[in-house]
Amino acid sequence: MYDLVIIGGGPGGVAAGVYAARKKMKTLLVTDSFGGQSLVSNDIQNWIGTKSITGLDLAKSLEEHLRAQPGIEIVEGELVTSVSKRDGGFAVATNAGRQIETRYLLVVSGSRRRKLGVPGEREFDGKGVVYCTTCDAPLFGGKTVVVAGGGNSALEGVLDLVTYASKIYLMVRSEVLRGDPLTQEKVRSHAQGPDAKVVILWNSLIQEVRGDKFVTGVVYRNAKTDETKELPLEGVFVEIGLIPNAEFVKDLVKINDYGHIIVDGKTQQTSCPGIWAAGDVTDVLYEQNNISVGDAIKATLNIYDHFKKS
């Protein structure tokens, strides 16, 4: 039986692993892959202590730091599918059929991309529907596309596409753009004038993705006018936010309306004794790599306090 199982290999999980190993707790970290959601980012400029780093390099340096810890055990390439209570701890199961027993559990499993959930989305996934804008933007050279969303990732998606696409509709659910003012400004600068490359459609939601072999258009509805229109285009870039990866503990810990694990901000404890959580999977106010690291360390030190007492 392990003292601690850490679920997740993003910045939070790795930070917890480093601290747990140094406290000499018998620790296992389970992750699908290292680096977290920043993996696909080409330039991270706010990772403190580093002026600029790619997501891939950040992932590598995190993994290297973790693997340098004596005593830490790592399972890579597996996803945790369920957690249940056992005498004096928990049983953790993975999608590869692995069964792990542990006394304490730290959930730092982050979040994943939210999908549109409309007809045609799944059918045309990879056939015009795109979830990795930085990867696939160059494939839409000279084409008309729509970016759904109004936050940082949607705005950055528009900027990725400006070099390639001939026309970009930014479809925003509300009347405001979220995201950094600097990025907003850049996007707005491409949306000026009658020949603007970027057209912002406010209060609009995609209702359906249409196509034959590939995407040929979307049907969208304006919530204010209640009008439904079809927009002929070839690419649908989905950047509408995140869903926390908390399903596997949803019957054990308290979860808020958005699916985030509710934690005590001082200790990162969940409502279930023995389970802690940190990072984007929690109801933390700000979803940031640096914050996940701090919160995961807080959790690990608090786990260690419990470990010592027992």
């Binding site: 696909v40 990879g126 990795c132 990867c135 696939d136 839409f140 690419g235």
Partner: protein, 82 residues
């Protein structure tokens, strides 16, 4: 030392999964030909025709098409797993 397989990878410059796939080839000493579909229109058409989709990476191993960095399928196609 080359490999017995003919491997083509279709990539874009900013695609992290393309980089991960190439690192995977490096780890297993697999030689490959890279085609950048961001600049090479013909390669793009070829990729779309082979994979019937728009997304990178696409890997062609002796004519078998693998979409995305799918380690398990790559291992099978390259005969890396016993």
């Amino acid at each position: 030392m080359g490999n017995a397989h003919h491997v083509i990878i279709y990539t874009t410059p900013a695609c992290v999964y393309c980089k991960k796939t190439k690192e995977f080839f490096g780890r297993h000493s697999i030689s490959y030909e890279e085609r950048d579909v961001a600049t090479d229109q013909r390669a793009r058409a070829e990729m779309v025709q082979k994979s019937e989709q728009l997304g990178v990476p696409v890997i062609d191993v002796d004519g078998a098409i693998i979409i995305g960095f799918d380690q398990k399928n790559l291992e099978t196609a390259l005969g890396l797993k016993v």
